[in-house]
């Protein structure tokens, strides 16, 4: 399964939007937090997990989805949210804790919910899998079309919930795809030190489902393999487990100096940035010009800037609104 030129451009554009978004968040996050770093301060307080480097995992999979399909993501949700079509302005406002945010500031960066496009996530490691399996079950029981995708990190694949959900999905032949973003690190603990198998995709055999290993963070290959998995799910042939070797270009969260990470590894991170590689591919494949690239980047920049401006300009909610929405 190869993407059309239009699909490739969609993927590239979303990767660029995601990167600009994160770079902007990164800068604003530090406002008010220095010189002595204090997480509570500034326009974006709290933990911040950036996904730069992992954009291919988002676009390669979500290119096959429409807003009716369901995605349950992780504590590192922005790239996936963007690829799934989450309202960028409202997401930005949510991250700023504003009234105009997706939940009016109640959820924040780790709890992005956009019901319009069936996107949600959780800050609890490994808990996306059961929720996605359940959404897939619901589609099956209601005879409604659509698939569910659960994102998780390679660290999360050691959670009980992961194994239970895979078994359930396989036994019930659910239309669900499990996507592991293997960035080799669970905070400071390496995959090697935490995981008995070399490839989590091998674990799929324990649940009689296809296990797909994608070693190179390549959006085109991810597109191809995810496409097959999603097609299988749509045809009622059951779940698939995909593991993508990707890379976390920044620390686990902002403020993480990554002293635990071998220096050699950090040095070559810039080389494996997937965005320049994708651009080169477009140039080779479609005679993509610098002018076209500039134009695309300009549009992406505008989108991000407008979202951030919207977030900045929006009001905070009234404090007492904290009491609303516990129940409907």
């Amino acid at each position: 399964m190869t993407p059309t030129q239009e699909q490739e451009l969609w993927m590239y554009r979303n990767m660029v939007v995601s990167r600009f978004f994160e770079e902007t968040i990164e800068k604003i996050y530090m406002e008010g937090k220095t010189p002595a770093f204090n997480m509570a301060k500034g326009p974006i307080p709290g933990e911040m997990h950036l996904s730069n480097g992992q954009e291919p995992c988002a676009v390669g999979v979500c290119a096959h989805l429409n807003s009716d399909d369901i995605v349950v993501s992780t504590h590192r949700p922005h790239h996936v949210a963007i690829a799934k079509g989450v309202d960028l302005k409202k997401m930005a406002a949510e991250i700023f804790g504003k009234k105009t945010g997706l939940s009016g500031g109640r959820g924040g960066h780790m709890h992005i919910f956009d019901a319009q496009v069936n996107f949600s996530c959780s800050g609890i490691i490994g808990e996306s899998v059961g929720v996605a399996a359940g959404a897939a079950l619901s589609r099956k029981m209601q005879g409604k079309p659509g698939v569910a995708v659960a994102y998780l990190g390679e660290g999360a694949a050691n959670q009980g919930a992961f194994h239970e959900a895979l078994n359930l999905a396989a036994v019930w032949k659910l239309p669900v795809v499990f996507v592991i973003e293997d960035n080799a690190w669970g905070i400071s603990v390496s995959k090697q030190a935490s995981t008995a198998v070399k490839y989590n995709s091998d674990r799929a055999s324990a649940y009689s489902m296809p296990g797909v290993h994608i070693p190179n963070n390549d959006p085109i290959e991810i597109f191809a393999k995810a496409g097959e998995a999603i097609e299988r799910a749509r045809k009622g042939e059951g779940p698939t487990l995909i593991e993508i070797e990707t890379s976390r270009l920044a620390g686990h969260f902002m403020g993480d100096a990554e002293a635990y990470r071998p220096a050699g590894e950090k040095e070559h991170l810039a080389e494996i940035d997937p965005i320049p590689g994708f651009k080169k591919r477009l140039q080779d494949q479609y005679q993509w010009t610098e002018a076209q690239d500039e134009a695309l980047r300009g549009q992406a920049r505008e989108l991000v800037d407008a979202a951030i401006q919207f977030a900045r300009d929006s009001d905070y909610p009234a404090p007492e609104e904290a009491l609303d929405k516990v129940f409907v």
Partner: protein, 342 residues
């Protein structure tokens, strides 16, 4: 408070905990530590810092993100003669492995008729105030204190943290050790300076189940634990300016619960305010008020509680700060009591 001559050496709670653990590890080779990111990183809140370097990976074990397995494993190891100290970063995460905690860690002693004990310490961070959202900011004191079979401690300062940790490690029972993030002494969490106090270099214990009168007073008793104590102390200073003398009681542990100290204090002051950053309903605040009421202590006004409203913890600072307990809310609660008296 067990008084040990404190040299002028101030420590943060995080360092005090790490120091206590190191001292016990040096003298008892059955003590070992495991948890997520507690090795080279020294714990995300710093309370195992230095241990990996001193004791190595055999006794300071980074775990996979497999809480059901490693907390279950701690129960197994503790039942077989080891003394595991386990960290699970945030108390909010305990849901994924709760069975290992409340059905096994907490009950195995009982099920064995006291034959098998489970001498483990399960430590975790609590509390919010820095916009980390509803899955990373809870206190959940009562959730654990409600379920029998585990001791539950939560220090408000570094002196207590070291002494309570030593007592917890030596205790033959399972202990949940809750440390509040904003009291840890981590600058990036906006630290409460009053939690950083003199800590003796030698080993000492602060016995589990003994409350401390942190400030003496005669007009009102303010009872709290961990962050609540600091709100209480600030409120007491404000009340003092209005000519009101407030006594502040630091419970230090919820199980065992030192009801006597609280009851005696309220007998003296005749007024009671209980402060907790945990949820309002079915919590510690209700337990303390019920205990004093059951004891038949005469009170000049109905007791008051200042706790977290029954809502998930909102992300946005305007909502979260509004919902958190504060000195101001305690002062207001006192004013309300006075109105009720008139």
């Amino acid at each position: 408070m067990t008084q040990v001559q404190a040299k002028a050496r101030k420590l943060t709670i995080a360092r005090a905990m790490a120091e206590s653990i190191a001292m016990e590890m040096r003298t008892d080779d059955k003590v070992f530590v495991m948890g997520e990111d507690i090795g080279e990183l020294g714990g995300v809140f710093g309370n195992t810092r230095g241990l990996y370097k001193e004791f190595g990976s055999e006794r300071v074990k980074d775990t996979p993100i497999s809480e059901t397995a490693f907390i279950g494993a701690a129960v197994g190891a503790a039942s077989d003669g080891m003394k595991p100290i386990v960290e699970l970063m945030f108390v909010d995460f305990f849901g994924v492995c709760f069975d290992a905690i409340y059905n096994m860690m907490a009950k195995n002693t009982y099920f064995s008729g006291g034959e098998v004990n489970v001498p483990m310490v399960l430590m975790t961070s609590t509390g919010g105030g820095y916009s980390d959202g509803g899955q990373h900011s809870q206190c959940l004191h009562a959730t654990f204190a409600h379920l029998p079979g585990m001791k539950v401690v939560a220090p408000s300062n570094a002196y207590d943290a070291k002494g309570l940790m030593t007592a917890a490690i030596r205790d033959p029972n399972p202990v949940i050790f809750m440390f509040h993030k904003a009291l840890q002494g981590m600058g990036w969490l906006g630290t409460e300076k009053d939690a950083i106090v003199n800590v003796p270099e030698e080993v000492y214990e602060v016995p589990l189940g003994q409350a401390a009168i942190t400030r003496t007073g005669s007009d009102v008793t303010i009872v709290g634990i961990t962050s609540g104590v600091h709100h209480g102390l600030k409120a007491a200073r404000e009340l003092e300016q209005q000519g009101v003398s407030a006594e502040v009681v630091d419970l230090r542990s919820l199980v065992p619960l030192d009801r006597d100290t609280v009851i005696q204090s309220v007998r003296k002051t005749g007024r009671l305010i209980v402060v907790d950053e945990d949820y309002h309903s079915y919590g510690m605040t209700a337990e303390i008020i019920a205990s004093v009421t059951e004891a038949g202590v005469p009170m000049k006004a109905p007791p008051q509680r200042v706790a977290y409203p029954d809502i998930p913890i909102p992300f946005t600072p305007v909502m979260e700060q509004w919902a958190l307990p504060s000195a101001e809310k305690i002062v207001k609660a006192f004013e309300k009591m006075k109105e009720n008296e008139e």
